[in-house]
């Protein structure tokens, strides 16, 4: 079974994982969605990797959501009515960290988890995560995507214990 087949077989577990993480962190009911996609516009995303040192393979876990959800998350997590750009990155980075840790517990037990990196990009409406498995949930009427993949840029990720402290939350490992 290929890694992608393995992710596909775990699709329902990944959906349940995303629902639970979102429900707990956002404090709002989250529902699975299948046809909804992120609308064009600013998207806040985080990604991290799970490294299997036995065969030197990587699994990339990423979270993408609208800046609206990111703002609500940051506001609730940090108890501030007007979160700044760094707060949005911190909130979505931590959401990705929680999701990544749970994906590791689900699929990649004895592996190494990187630290999350978060960024704001512009969603052009193009399909995302075509080579991997993407599950989606709706919270606050907005879509949140969780993608598990074997492809991605692993070189720019930070690893626990070895990374320098970030100068700014924008490069938050």
């Amino acid at each position: 079974m290929s890694a992608i087949d393995e992710f596909e077989a775990a699709r329902e577990d990944l959906e349940a994982l995303l629902i639970e993480v979102l429900g707990t962190v956002a404090g709002e009911e989250a529902m699975p969605v299948w046809d909804d996609v992120l609308p064009p516009g600013p998207v806040v995303s985080s990604r991290l990797a799970i490294h299997d040192e036995d065969d030197d393979s990587y699994t990339m876990v990423s979270i993408r959501t609208s800046s609206i959800v990111a703002r609500v998350l940051a506001s609730r997590m940090l108890l501030t009515p007007d979160p700044g750009p760094d707060d949005l990155l911190d909130a979505v980075g931590e959401l990705g960290n929680i999701a990544g840790g749970n994906v590791k517990s689900l699929l990649r037990h004895s592996c190494r988890l990187s630290l999350p990196t978060a960024e704001v990009t512009e969603n052009d409406g193009a399909a995302h995560g075509d080579s991997g498995v993407t599950v989606r949930a709706s919270v606050l009427g907005q879509v949140v995507e969780l993608t598990v993949d074997v492809a991605g840029d692993f070189s720019a990720l930070y690893w626990p214990g070895s990374a320098p402290a970030p100068d700014a939350l924008g490069s938050r490992p």
């Binding site: 639970e20 993480v21 707990t24 962190v25 940051a74 997590m77 940090l78 108890l79 707060d87 911190d90 909130a91 980075g93 931590e94 960290n97 929680i98 999701a99 990544g100 840790g101 749970n102 590791k104 517990s105 037990h109 004895s110 988890l113 990187s114 630290l115 930070y158 626990p160 214990g161 070895s162 990374a163 320098p164 402290a165 970030p166 939350l169 938050r172 490992p173």
Partner: protein, 121 residues
């Protein structure tokens, strides 16, 4: 009590602090650290009664922090609050001397279950 919360996410440090209160453990002094190295320096500088630490952090991981503490003979109760809750990690945490591991996402009830023996309400 003086409680040290170590996590590289400011948002998560605030959530841990808030969840402590929701779990009924209010009124304690909370001290924060952004990574294991900073947390270790804090414990060396001042007396801490309980440590709640993330596992994956830059500079020094939570497990490295715990092992460094125990190597120095510091017996402060230590609990992980981390996104990975596998049985393997729980065993590693216990073997290193942690009182428990709380997996994210967590609820106040999880804090009560694990921290009641070491925190005064």
């Amino acid at each position: 009590m003086k409680i040290l919360v170590a996590d590289d996410s400011r948002a998560m440090r605030m959530i841990v602090t808030r969840t402590l209160r929701q779990a009924g453990f209010a009124g304690h002094d909370i001290i924060e650290a952004e990574n294991g190295k900073e947390a270790l320096e804090t414990v060396v500088r001042q007396s801490i009664d309980l440590i709640l630490s993330d596992w994956n952090m830059p500079e020094m991981t939570g497990i490295e922090f715990l092992r460094a503490l125990r190597a120095k003979g510091v017996k402060t109760p230590f609990c992980f609050v981390t996104s990975e809750g596998s049985e393997e990690m729980r065993e590693q945490a216990q073997a290193a001397g942690a009182v428990g591991l709380i997996a994210k996402p967590f609820t106040p009830e999880a804090f009560v279950d694990i921290l009641s023996p070491v925190v005064t309400a």
